[in-house]
Symmetry: C2
Subunit: 191 residues, 2 copies
């Protein structure tokens, strides 16, 4: 929770009133490695903030294939936004990839706080805008970079977590095959 | 402009005050087919609303390859969000694919209106949330569907515009080769 408050305060000071109300609606949780935090097919509308550790949002296709939509590390939010913001049937699951500390807040309760405290609503606007930029960047990367460039960007972005994330998940996040990933890694270590 | 007002009013009524101030900061423009509306490398932070027609945001790579990030039809916003919301160097261009009517508004002026009129800020929040859901959906489609499924979804989503959009742009939007697209089209027309 401290991390969420600090993260929000970085952009602008938060009044004690907001901090207290935020504490009242937020559920702080320590999760173990490989713990399932959100299951597909839930109707719950939750925002999840990562205070420490690493989470993953993924989709398990009918053919068993596992697709990684998002990784979230410290100070990132993660959710099934198609459900959260567009009322679509929930298809993503969210799990922890390492021991993580997370803060879970119901979307409706967060929205009530934005309405009650305009300065908090403003922080949320910045936050939503950042997410839009990040999502467009992800599309940009998927479309324009080749497999090796994607992996190099991944290493820069996720740094220490590269080691805790299984190969098939990194490959599915980059939209490449695990075989391509192995080949690229070998290329890089030989160069 | 009428279209933008109607679009915003659909979610909730807009006061005359907001409508008047919106008119004062918005530039309505008729653009011809293939007109360049926003150029890469601009420092301008603009939101573009499509009242009618079809726009495209694209990236021209150094090797000459053209990548389509987004198509926007009636009632959609389009922009280089990485520049707009994340202060990154602008790398996308935006052009019209058909005769279109658009409304251009400077981001800073829009933000001043959100701050001045909380009810308008609320509409913006919904709008940003919708865009997040749409962008996550686009990533989902890029990662999980095969080339044929992507194209079938494209036809459903863009309907009448399929005919005005050149093949290589559809292919680059779907992240497939123009040759794959031709093959898929042949398959579909033969089935």
């Amino acid at each position: 929770m401290k991390e969420l408050i600090e993260y929000i305060e970085k952009s602008t000071g938060l009044s004690n009133d907001i901090i207290n109300e935020l504490r009242a609606i937020a559920l702080e949780k320590n999760v173990k490695k490989r713990e399932l935090i959100l299951q597909e097919d839930t109707s719950k509308k939750l925002q999840i903030f990562v205070a420490s550790g690493c989470l993953r949002a993924f989709y398990k296709a009918e053919n068993g294939k596992d697709h990684t939509l998002q990784f979230a590390t410290k100070n990132w939010w993660i959710s099934d936004y198609m459900t959260l913001f567009n009322n679509e049937k929930s298809i993503l699951s969210i799990e922890s990839l390492s021991h993580s500390k997370i803060v879970i807040i119901e979307q409706s309760q967060l929205e009530a706080l934005y309405d009650k405290f305009p300065e908090f609503g403003l922080i949320n606007r910045m936050n939503l805008q950042n997410r839009i930029a990040a999502l467009q960047k992800r599309i940009f990367v998927l479309l324009t970079l080749n497999a090796k460039e994607k992996y190099e960007k991944f290493i820069r972005d996720y740094d220490v977590f590269e080691k805790v994330i299984p190969n098939y998940q990194i490959a599915s996040f980059l939209g490449i095959t695990p075989e391509s990933l192995s080949r690229i890694r070998k290329e890089i270590s030989n160069s």
